[in-house]
């Protein structure tokens, strides 16, 4: 059997109690491509994204049904360690989440250090690499040991991105990573996505249609917890199959 996709959901549903946040979504995630999730607020993008690396596991009352395949293996199968899944499938949240007791440097290398990497040179190089990729290096290189919470909101978000990159995940899930950033940092993150594509598989949630069009190879349109349409980005934006998709991307939508 050929296995063309890095990740794939099959009939994935997520319930908050009885209320379904996501219903029956089957979505392929192509290897080393950017897949964008678009759709109006509350349509289930975050809910779907969090199901991909088992972030719902610890939230009481949330139930996940269906399958999430990572390299063909169901991450929800019995015996699969969610910690291992999350090491391979990293995540950047909608809001920046610096570790408040740590410096900038400690934040970036937290994932490496806490799993036992001790070598200072290795950590130093990893930190610089990750900070450069997240377009934060120049702003913080002279104060790496300052508290991370002293950074501005946008810098904190790029720090969160750097921290996620430092552990070198195979898949990176990003939930509106640029919604708190200025145009220059946004541009830097978009450039990063293009560059990362060579090594990392990316799923990104965005409210910015231009951004989806610019950075992604594939786009999925969500509405009311269901996936209305999935296609190559240029096709979905120029020639959508579903009238609801067309209404949304042309801005004629509530």
């Amino acid at each position: 059997m050929s296995q063309p996709y890095r990740m794939e959901t099959q009939n994935l549903s997520v319930y908050y109690g009885k209320h379904p946040g996501v219903r029956g979504v089957s979505l392929p995630v192509h290897d080393r491509r950017v897949t964008a999730l678009i759709g109006p607020s509350g349509c289930g993008k975050t809910t779907f994204l969090r199901a991909l690396n088992r972030m719902h596991d610890l939230t009481p009352g949330v139930r996940v049904e269906g399958r999430v395949l990572l390299d063909g293996e169901d991450v929800y199968a019995p015996g699969v360690d969610p910690v291992v899944v999350r090491r391979r499938v990293g995540m950047v949240f909608q809001r920046p989440t610096p570790f408040p007791t740590m410096s900038i440097f400690e934040n970036v290398v937290a994932g490496l250090r806490l799993v036992g990497v001790r070598d200072r040179r290795v950590l130093g190089q990893a930190a610089e690499r990750a900070l450069r990729m997240a377009a934060l290096w120049d702003e913080v290189k002279d104060r790496l040991h300052a508290p991370a919470v002293d950074l501005s909101g946008g810098q904190q978000q790029r720090l969160s991105i750097a921290r996620a990159l430092a552990v070198e995940p195979e898949v990176l899930l990003m939930d509106e990573p640029t919604s708190a950033l200025d145009p220059i940092s946004t541009q830097a993150i978009e450039d990063l996505l293009t560059e990362l594509k060579n090594s990392v598989t990316i799923v990104i949630v965005t409210h910015n249609m231009q951004q989806a069009a610019r950075v992604s190879d594939y786009t999925a349109f969500f509405l009311d917890g269901e996936m209305v349409e999935f296609d190559a980005t240029d096709r979905l934006f120029t020639n959508p199959a579903d009238p609801r998709t067309e209404a949304y991307i042309t801005g004629r939508f509530g």
């Binding site: 090491r87 990293g90 937290a110």
Partner: protein, 276 residues
């Protein structure tokens, strides 16, 4: 309109006055106690008080050195035990609500918090003194720790619940196991509040004599070995206060003053720790 306004001002004055009265009703006795202890005790705090063993019954002079040293040893050990078990229990209560041990643990902590201090002495007697065959500073520490654990546990649980859940999620998303997230991210974020709880528990335990009556027991000789019987300031205070000797009464006041000062210092440090 002018009249309503004036009535409002009046009512405001009355209310502020009542609040002031209530505050005074609390503060005046407190200041009276501290003042009285200070006046009665300050004269006893001479060099001998800190450096000499007690004099034989009926003789004047002598000091509290064994009790001071014993208090330091017993309270430090109690604090260590309370920190380990209290913080661990607080973590389980706050971070593992679905753990099967959670409900029984909560019950135990609630019951422990309500038990009279002297019962903790009985428990420590059964757990430590009986098996060892004799009284010891260690058994006193266990008794005090039993008293302090619920305080530490509740403080830890409370402050851990204030740590944003997003912090835990951010750690998990990095592929860290839950326990690492708790140890390296959540507990450090809560350290101020946990320190406060520890200091408050120390302030509570350091002043207790009852749990030590049949555990640490008392010892007129200086020792730093917690496996031997030990004296502590509250024990000494109790024994001296009910003695018939005026000089012992004097020294009991000195012990009271020293204890009050130490406990106030601990409470002050507790508030400082929380503000950070």
């Amino acid at each position: 309109m002018n009249r309503t306004l004036r009535r409002r001002y009046l009512r405001d004055r009355v209310m502020v006055g009542l609040v002031g009265l209530g505050t005074a009703a609390v503060l005046v006795p407190l200041f009276f106690i501290l003042y009285y202890v200070l006046v009665q005790g300050i004269g006893a705090l001479d060099l001998a008080f800190f450096t000499r063993p007690p004099a034989p019954p009926g003789e004047t002079g002598g000091g509290m050195l064994p009790a001071i040293a014993g208090s330091l040893v017993v309270d430090t050990l109690a604090l260590l035990m309370a920190a380990v078990f209290g913080v661990a229990a607080g973590v389980l209560l706050a971070e593992y609500p679905d753990h099967p041990l959670n409900p029984p643990l909560r019950l135990v902590v609630d019951v422990m918090a309500g038990l009279p201090a002297i019962l903790m002495g009985l428990v420590a007697f059964a757990l430590v003194v009986r098996p060892m065959g004799h009284f010891s500073g260690l058994s006193g520490s266990v008794a005090l720790a039993l008293l302090m654990i619920p305080i530490v546990t509740r403080a830890t649980e409370g402050v851990l619940k204030l740590v944003p859940w997003e912090l835990t999620e951010a750690g998990l998303a990095l592929g860290l196991p839950r326990w690492r997230v708790i140890v390296n991210l959540v507990l450090p974020a809560a350290r101020g509040g946990i320190l406060t709880g520890l200091m408050l528990s120390l302030a509570r335990g350091a002043g207790e004599a009852a749990p030590l009556l049949f555990t640490a027991f008392g010892n007129p000789y200086l020792t730093a070995n917690p496996l031997e019987p030990m004296d502590t300031l509250p024990l000494k205070l109790y024994v001296y206060a009910i003695s018939p000797y005026p000089d012992w009464h004097r020294q009991a006041w000195g012990a009271a003053l020293l204890l009050a000062a130490a406990i106030m210092a601990a409470s002050y440090l507790a508030r400082r720790a929380f503000r950070r």
